[in-house]
Amino acid sequence: MKRLSLYIFSSWISLIGLAQVADTTQTAPSDSVATLPVEQAPPQLLQPSLLWDYGKSITTAAGFDQKYEGSLTLLFFERYYLIGEAGKASLSPENAIENGSYTSEGEYFRVGGGYMAPINATSRLGIGVNYAISTFEDRGSAWIKSSEGVQDDYQYNFGPRQGEARWIEAAITSESNLRLNKKEPEAKINQLFSIGFQFRMRFMSTYDRYSVIDVYSVPGYGRVVNNPNPALNIYLRFHPF
């Protein structure tokens, strides 16, 4: 039920974002009617921005897996971007070992680039490729109880094991500016934040493997049994300049 509440809450946050996009689309024509045509300004050489994956923070706040992720984006000529992402996660997938427990924790980094095109005055759509590396440590236990009651419980422990994984990602991004001041569309605060989502398809390249119980989850990638492994991130972007 706790998990279900988390999903409902994150859905609600996402729908607010969608509503923002819808509002922007509806109000754009009236804005264009009200303003006089002006000469197009040359595209800015560089626009840095910071990105916060609030979906992961919600998961952490709800008491499930601990995940934190942020990134720095450098947008060149308002179209081409380079991105560096860093994250930290402690994953405890319940069904990694049905008769035991499993934890994988560590850090991960991604670097990548791509193309992001504006689709209207406030929204953008992007496509890009990332290369990611994760260094992590996993451990776990499994328990067996005697069916005949003739012996003590058997416990199998493993780890901590140090591991590394590398993978590549194809990412599609959609985002829209947050209109916090609806009365003044041109207000500075309406240019500071944007909200969006990113759909990633992750392709595992290599990861350290072990006998008996192999690595199950990699921070930043998720379950290695899924390859490719899709993911959806929801984020808030801050444009300081």
């Binding site: 999903y7 069904n95 069916s147 008996v212």
Partner: protein, 241 residues
């Protein structure tokens, strides 16, 4: 608004489908086992001898019965001749007529008794064959089984044709010895095997035993193992006592 509802519904369905299991983390209730079949070879051989003797008696009785019937038919023919003479007025044959009638009645009575005895022998033979089949199937009731290393009793309440003897979950080479009481007789058997852990596709960690060998036994006439390199759960040890 309706579109947002459908998006939310879709999101919740995906979340529900991806939710991990509720009973994860519970210990697996399990023991690796080796199957034992008990064949009471001495009793079976003794019964086979009895069945052979009963079969011989039945065959002899059949021959005697045929002889009695032939004799009875012969005397019946003689009686017809004497009857015709007596009817013709030759009264000196009356004594012989009475003697023949008495003899034929005695022969018929003996034949009936012999037939009845043969039916009883056939029933006895059928019962003995059933008992031999039960013994050959190994259906026995074990009075008591003790796992020596754990000093614990293994309970088998029913009469069965095979018994799963639990093996100790050792790390690496394992030894499990049993003291068995069967029909007030004491027997012992000791197994040596190798254990290893295996993670199944169902994400359950099991401890399996393989290369099961009988290192020592007392009380049994002989024994036979179907496979010495199989997993323990595929190994059947047939003991003859």
């Amino acid at each position: 608004m309706q579109n947002k509802f459908y998006i939310l519904l879709f999101w919740l369905l995906v979340a529900w489908a991806c939710d991990p299991c509720d009973d994860c983390g519970e210990p697996l209730v399990y023991d690796p086992k080796v199957k034992l079949v008990f064949i009471n070879q001495d009793s079976a051989a003794h019964l086979e001898d009895s069945i052979s003797r009963v079969t011989d008696s039945i065959d002899n009785n059949k021959l005697t019965l045929a002889l009695l019937k032939d004799t009875s038919v012969f005397f019946a023919d003689s009686l017809e001749t004497i009857d015709s003479l007596v009817e013709a007025g030759e009264t000196e044959y009356l004594d012989k007529q009475e003697a023949l009638n008495h003899t034929i009645d005695s022969l018929d009575t003996s034949a009936d008794s012999l037939s009845s005895w043969n039916r009883q022998l056939n029933t006895l033979k059928s019962d003995l064959n059933t008992i031999v089949k039960v013994i050959s199937d190994g259906k026995v009731q074990l009075d008591e089984v003790i796992l020596v290393e754990a000093n614990k009793q293994v309970v088998f309440e029913d009469t069965l044709s095979s018994f799963g003897f639990p093996l100790l979950l050792a790390d690496g080479p394992g030894v499990s010895s049993f003291e068995i009481t069967l029909a007030d007789e004491q027997y012992t058997i000791a197994f040596e095997y190798t254990t290893f852990e295996e993670m199944g596709a169902d994400r359950i960690l099991r401890v399996l035993a393989t290369d099961v060998n009988v290192t020592n036994y007392t009380g049994f006439d002989s024994l036979k193992i179907n496979c010495e390199t199989c997993l323990s759960n595929e190994t059947t040890v047939t003991v003859y006592f």
